[in-house]
Amino acid sequence: MSNSTSAAKTKKEMRQYQRQHNSWKKAFHQHGWLYAMLIPGVVWMLIFCYLPMGGLVMAFENFSPYAGNGIVECLVKSPKVGFDNFKLLFTGADFFNLLRNTLAISFANLLIAFPMPIILALILNELRCMWFKRFSQTLVYIPHFISLVIVATLTFQLFNSTDGVVYNMIAQVVGRANAPDILSSPKLFVPLILGQNIWKETGYGTIIYLAALTSVDPELLEAAKIDGANRWNLLWHITLPTIRSTIVIMLIMKVGSLLNTGYEQIFLMQNAMNRSVSEVFDTYVYNRGVSQGQYSLATTAGLFKSIVSLIMVLGANKISKMLGETGLY
């Protein structure tokens, strides 16, 4: 993050100012309140963010909650096993499955759900009837504010195979015998999650693109029209290039979280029938670690995921900078 200041200070003045404050003692003396204000946030970060990072040593030992009194002693006393947990994870039968399921959901989201808000924003931008545009925007934002439990609930009520409305409609068209049980069919799990995501986030996702679209230069559009450009030409050569940097930034964020499928949504849609396709890294960490108490293995899976995500977000950022776009960091 760059430290952009709105203050009308020149660099020289700033440097002078900083030199006057160069000792910590003086800084504390002058701005004691500012440091005091940092305390809640810093203490919180240390306890709830940095302390758990120390817990990652579990990935390198065979952690047992009975190895000593209290967690810290357990962490110290549990037998150290080096990279054995990683070997176990990578060679285990689960790993390939986890990776495949995670990537299937992520890539479906990246390829299909990601462009949806862009398309909808472009369409909304073309509408000339203002009240209609604003009214539709209000409606399409609603699902974003609905909890995933309610999304799962609605999905259940619409698609379940005893009295689901949509299920009944499908059954009427293709016949009850041929109608797939949408909620438990492994084949339909990814489309179901994808559909939920599209339904929930497309509308809200348009906000940022609509804002970017306001910076399209109307004079440029006029000029292009005079030169005989049609709708597609305008879209391709003027509108899309204007919002390109927004798209790139959103894409970086998406790529960086490629392995974060979000455990809550998957967990809510998971059932015994679709577990072979619905177990992803996030749910695996919960099911193995929290539910079954296999702390070390779950921590290892989580650590693997965190490291890959970190590399991906930094990599995507670097690539975007190389392509001449502004990065995130």
Partner: protein, 305 residues
């Protein structure tokens, strides 16, 4: 090139080619369809919650029920779990958001001062937690076995007391306020705390409203942490109650001691619908009021710091 003619007239009275108008109509239809898809599930569930069991089973799709019935709501009120859930969710949301705002604002203000010594160090601390975390298992052990927060609302408030992203949104806003304000206050003998409380905070209404809203919606909708840390049914939040009623209850308790009349048994399907309605309505009621804030909030967030 008929387009040239179009450009003579600016504004709304532009004459368009038939092809252009056809495209417009298609676009309107697409948008209308999207909007419908977003609200139809709610309308159906809302309508069905007032219907009888038979109607839900027999009619394929409807929004206005033929036989109006309040049995489902009677059941919910008698059962009491949903309203207890709503009350708990309200407590979790209000207190949680206050904690969020306190930690975020006190952190954001020092970080927004360019002269703060050690600012980069603290900023990096924040960026690191955005990029990397210890993951679920260490946090779970910390909260449940070291801090012993299970079955208290603290388990829902403390672990997410600050979101780095939201804090940076606030920080950027503070940074954008003119420095002269602070300088004037200092000349008048104000210290950093007074400046923050009396000058900076009152000027930051829009961003504080947007970020509180992000936090509040997050708390209200949060399910997973409540599932992990709360097992006491007295402390159940509404999302947990909803999940339990929809998926985990096969048949409904017949001991509610209510004569269901011709229906014979509690209206299972309608109760599911009604529970969904009761859990959704609070968000939908506040939604129109908060809409302008969240649009503003996304915009603030998109300005990078």
């Amino acid at each position: 090139m008929t387009k040239i003619k179009d450009n003579k007239a600016h504004g709304s009275k532009i004459k368009r080619s038939p092809g252009d108008q056809a495209v417009q109509i298609i676009l309107y239809i697409i948008v209308a369809a999207c909007a419908l898809v977003c609200v139809l599930p709610f309308l159906y569930v809302f309508g069905a919650s007032f219907a009888t069991e038979r109607e839900i089973i027999e009619r394929p799709f409807f929004i206005i029920p033929h036989d109006f019935s309040l049995n489902a709501y009677v059941y919910i009120i008698r059962d009491g779990a949903v309203f207890r859930g709503l009350k708990n969710s309200l407590i979790v949301t209000v207190v949680g958001t206050l904690i969020n705002m306190f930690v975020s604002c006190t952190m954001a203000y020092p970080l927004s001062r360019p002269y703060l010594k050690g600012r980069n160090f603290f900023m990096n601390m924040v960026i690191i937690i955005m990029l990397f975390s210890g993951g679920m298992v260490p946090s779970y052990l910390l909260i449940s076995q070291v801090l012993h927060l299970r079955n208290t609302f603290w388990a829902l408030w403390l672990p997410g007391a600050m979101s780095a992203f939201n804090m940076i949104i606030i920080k950027n806003y503070f940074q954008g306020l003119p420095m002269e304000l602070e300088e004037a206050a200092v000349i008048d003998g104000s210290n950093d705390l007074k400046t923050f409380v009396r000058i900076i905070l009152p000027l930051s209404g829009p961003v504080l409203a947007s970020v509180s809203l992000f936090y509040a919606v997050g708390h209200w909708n949060s399910y997973f942490s409540a599932m992990m840390y709360i097992s006491d049914s007295k402390l159940e939040v509404v999302q947990i109650v909803l999940r339990r009623i929809i998926f985990l209850t096969g048949s409904f308790a017949e001991d509610a001691g209510f004569d269901w009349g011709a229906a014979g048994s509690p209206p299972t399907k309608a109760v599911r619908m009604a529970t969904t309605v009761v859990a959704t309505v609070p968000i939908l009621i506040v939604y129109p009021f908060i809409q302008k804030f969240f649009t503003a909030g996304v915009m603030v967030g998109s300005v990078k710091g």
